[in-house]
């Protein structure tokens, strides 16, 4: 029951343990955020109390535990981060809190209690009547609601109005066939608001979530909005129920770093202002440390460590926590981005690059209109030197993917040249370039989508061999075993299906497949952005190792500079189709000349906390 003790200690006074120098991350200051519920008597106890929670999933008639005896509390106005790898049970805890566990989940023990205080829970006033009118079964008086074992009616009363959710992926989190306004309005109507007031509140909440021109946005459909705007709409929906707590489930991992930073800043400001509690679910300790008052580290369904970010970063008790810190590049060197690979200035350009893009321009005609076109790439030149890694960095829409498609010969450039291994492929047809194609292979961003779910791992890996007619059945199988070995997977995986593998293992398979034809260059399209930070590190290490052993060249596409620093020799920063800056990684990141590069560097999570711990004079990571 040490966890109990830990949890209550943390509630009583998290500041009691090593108060860090930074100030902004000191929990005491934010808990005070008294503007939350003016006038109403704020109960002293925590908003949520979780005691000995046990949750399992039923698989083949057996219950596999996912959460084992977790106890935690979240105070009013407090921001708590749950950190752990996939499968650590963090999302299960979040789903239990909001009563949205999947059908095959079973709560096998423990309690989850919301203390809603005596009065109406919402700080907004005006609509407070709905709370008491909703009758949760336990009458008025003490407003404590137990979630475990509660009926759907009770849970529905909690959702949206007490706890709301900002889901993980904004691209799929909104109903594609309803207007934004209607989707926000639903949350407002559930509070009993009617008529013209609904419309006014829709605009109000959209504005609160930081959306310009809310009148226009309310009329639009989700597909007309960017990912960042959609995430803001989801935040508006979460706010619209006037909840006391918001659960943000990996709130930004699907977004560009700069957008991620702006949205997290905004969300942080909102909860501080309104006294809403925030529970952040993340695999990235850097995000957790930057944003929360208190960090809970989860491993295999148990809380292994908790405390204020300063304490956790400076003085981690668990090996697991140390691993998570090491995996977050933003935390590793006191917030500075330190490139792993350093080149001499004269090594930056090479006379004989394996890929050379020369003055590439790509224009797409805009659909529907007669005139006008979109300039995706504007006079972009870059080269990939043999045996080295060149990174192409930028946000969505910067032209990274277009450049990649041109380099692969999948699309024709409007002007400019593409040279593969010294051969101009710009004006060549598919048939002429096919032999060259063996030299260039691609690894996709999402290992969950890039493997055919019906192909065994072995079949996926030897598919390139089969399509080029290389070898016979036996030699291909032998090659598949060899390739699996190169990516550190056992030969027994040959007959498995992708569904049986984790994300990291699948990405290893995808890498093995790309190596089947012994290419000279591998194009890596955000190869780790769909993976947990700790797995990212392993995949990057594998890629570095393969480069050393096989002499591979990489063109590495990413929006995350901290990852680029881990693997690249040289880098080109793209901004709206133009080259903002290029050169050796150490030089570009060390003294960025363009404002845009600086912005990207500042957006890397973890710097705030890293600076904090560095300020304490303790090296975080050797």
């Amino acid at each position: 029951m040490t966890q109990d003790a830990l949890a209550s200690a943390a509630v009583a006074g998290p500041a009691g343990s090593a108060a860090p120098a930074g100030g902004s991350a000191v929990p005491g200051s934010s808990v005070l955020g008294g503007s939350a519920e003016p006038g109403s008597a704020v109960p002293a106890g925590p908003l949520v109390t979780v005691t000995d929670l046990e949750v399992g999933y039923v698989r083949r008639r057996r219950t596999v535990p996912a959460v084992r005896g977790v106890s935690l509390t979240i105070a009013r106005g407090e921001t708590v981060a749950l950190v752990g790898e996939s499968g650590s049970g963090k999302s299960t805890i979040a789903n239990t809190l909001i009563g949205l566990l999947p059908d095959n989940a079973r709560v096998t023990g423990g309690t989850v209690t919301f203390d809603l205080g005596g009065g109406s829970g919402d700080g907004g006033g005006g609509n407070s009547g709905r709370d008491s009118g909703d009758g949760d079964g336990d009458g008025g008086g003490a407003r404590r609601v137990e979630v475990v074992g509660a009926r759907e009616r009770v849970l529905r009363g909690l959702r949206g109005r007490v706890v709301s959710l900002v889901p993980q992926d904004p691209m799929v989190g909104l109903n594609p066939t309803r207007r934004i306004g209607a989707q926000v309005a639903e949350s407002i109507r559930l509070r009993g608001v009617n008529g013209d007031q609904v419309r006014a509140e829709v605009l109000e909440f959209l504005t609160q979530a930081g959306i310009d021109d809310p009148e226009l946005r309310a009329r639009q459909y989700p597909h007309e909005l960017s990912g960042g705007l959609r995430q803001r709409v989801l935040i508006a929906i979460a706010l619209a129920g006037r909840p006391q707590m918001i659960i943000a489930d990996e709130p930004t991992s699907a977004l560009d770093v700069t957008v991620q930073r702006r949205i997290l800043d905004h969300l942080e400001g909102l909860v501080r202002e309104s006294g809403i509690s925030l529970l952040i679910i993340t695999h990235d300790l850097a995000v957790a440390a930057d944003r929360s008052d208190r960090v809970l580290v989860l491993q295999d369904g148990s809380i292994v460590e908790q405390g204020v970010p300063g304490r956790i970063l400076v003085n981690p008790e668990q090996e697991y926590t140390r691993r998570l810190i090491a995996a977050a590049p933003g935390l590793a060197h006191g917030g500075r981005i330190v490139p792993r690979l350093v080149l001499r200035p004269d090594e930056v350009t090479t006379p004989d690059p394996v890929i050379l893009l020369e003055n590439l321009t790509k224009r797409y005609p805009l659909p529907g209109r007669q005139s006008g076109s979109f300039l995706a790439l504007d006079d972009v030149s870059l080269q990939v030197a043999r045996g080295r890694t060149h990174a192409l960095v930028g946000e969505s829409g910067s032209g990274k993917t277009t450049a990649l498609r041109l380099a692969l010969g999948l699309e024709k450039a409007t002007s400019g040249r593409v040279l593969l291994d010294g051969v101009d492929i710009t004006d060549q047809g598919w048939r002429q370039t096919r032999p060259l194609r063996r030299k260039v292979q691609l690894v996709h961003q999402n290992p969950f989508a890039s493997l055919d779910p019906r192909f065994s791992i072995g079949r996926s890996i030897i598919e390139p061999l089969a399509s080029f007619g290389i070898g016979d059945r036996r030699s291909r199988r032998a090659r598949a075993v060899e390739l699996l070995d190169q990516v550190a997977l056992p030969a027994s995986y040959l007959d498995r299906l992708p569904a049986e593998l984790s994300g990291g293992q699948r990405q290893r398979v995808a890498i093995a497949r790309s190596l089947a034809l012994e290419p000279e260059v591998v194009l890596l399209d955000e190869p780790v952005s769909a993976l947990d930070v700790s797995v990212q590190e392993q995949i990057l290490a594998l890629l570095r190792d393969l480069q050393e052993r096989l002499g591979l060249s990489y063109l590495f596409i990413s929006h995350d500079l901290s990852i680029v620093a881990q693997i690249s020799h040289t880098v080109t920063v793209l901004n709206r189709g133009k080259v903002a800056e290029s050169g050796a990684v150490a030089e570009v990141f060390g003294s960025p000349r363009s404002e845009y590069t600086r912005e990207l560097i500042e957006a890397i999570p973890g710097q705030r906390s890293a600076a904090l711990s560095a300020g304490a004079g303790v090296p975080v990571h050797a």
């Binding site: 949205l100 959702r159 889901p167 909104l174 594609p176 559930l190 459909y221």
Partner: protein, 319 residues
Amino acid sequence: MTRYILGRFAQALGVLWAAYTVTFAVLYLLPSDPIALQLGAAGIETDKLTPAELHTAKARFGLDRPILEQYFSDLWGFLRGDLGESIAKQQSVASLIGDRLAPTLSLSLAAAVVALLAGTALAYLASYVRWRPARLVLTRLPSFGASFPQFFIALVLIQFLSFNLGLLPATGIRGWKSLVMPTITISILVASQLAAVLMRSFDDTLSQPYIVTARAKGLSRAAVQWHHGLRNALLPATTILGVLVGLTVTSSIIAETVFSRNGIGKLAQEAVLAQDVPVVLAIVTLAAAIFVVVNLVVDLLYPLLDPRIVQGQRKEVTI
């Protein structure tokens, strides 16, 4: 938008022309002697005719012209609404079809509407019900319904509703009552096919992340399924709507035969048996026209159902 609609219309006309041409080619280029076939349909035995008589007989039905000329003159006739003359019945094809069109249209329409509603309702219910036994029964219903031959359903219906209970007339066309059993016969199959597709579609839709968003707002399961599930689940099913209407039309041939309804289906059956080429050609073209119109309507409705479709093109999601 108008450009899109005009384009779709042109495409529809193209499909119609192709259907007519293929049917014409199949009927006239069969390895048998089409002229003897058709004259035989008119009760004239070509073997017993003198060459002069044969020539007049051919001239009477316009069969003495070269095949291409026949094709173009028949096509021109079709475009003006002149469907030619039935060889077996010595009557204009247009009036033959006109007489039989109303009962078939009312049957097909009734069957299509019933099948659409029943199939959607079944799938909606199956994905809403939580109680496992009920859910199991509901999800098995489509394959059960689709596995009975239509003539068998028709005979069972006649046995019970007409002969045993005497509720409905077994055959003929007498008001709405005679429409009930053929409608049920057709719509069981069509509804089953639709429900099978929709059930999968509901499963997919209700496991989408935006459903979690909707539930997290505090909406009831019923509200989530109605406001966020239904429309999105219907979208993929609209693509098979054209196929299902085609199925309704072909099913009406069986239904009309079993229930002795004097409709297009029965006419088609008679025409094929009598090898009455102009009638068969007209009916096939009519069926193709119905098919084309339904698909055109679906295409034009699609942008209204799915806001992501603009001017007939799906907006590509950038990777």
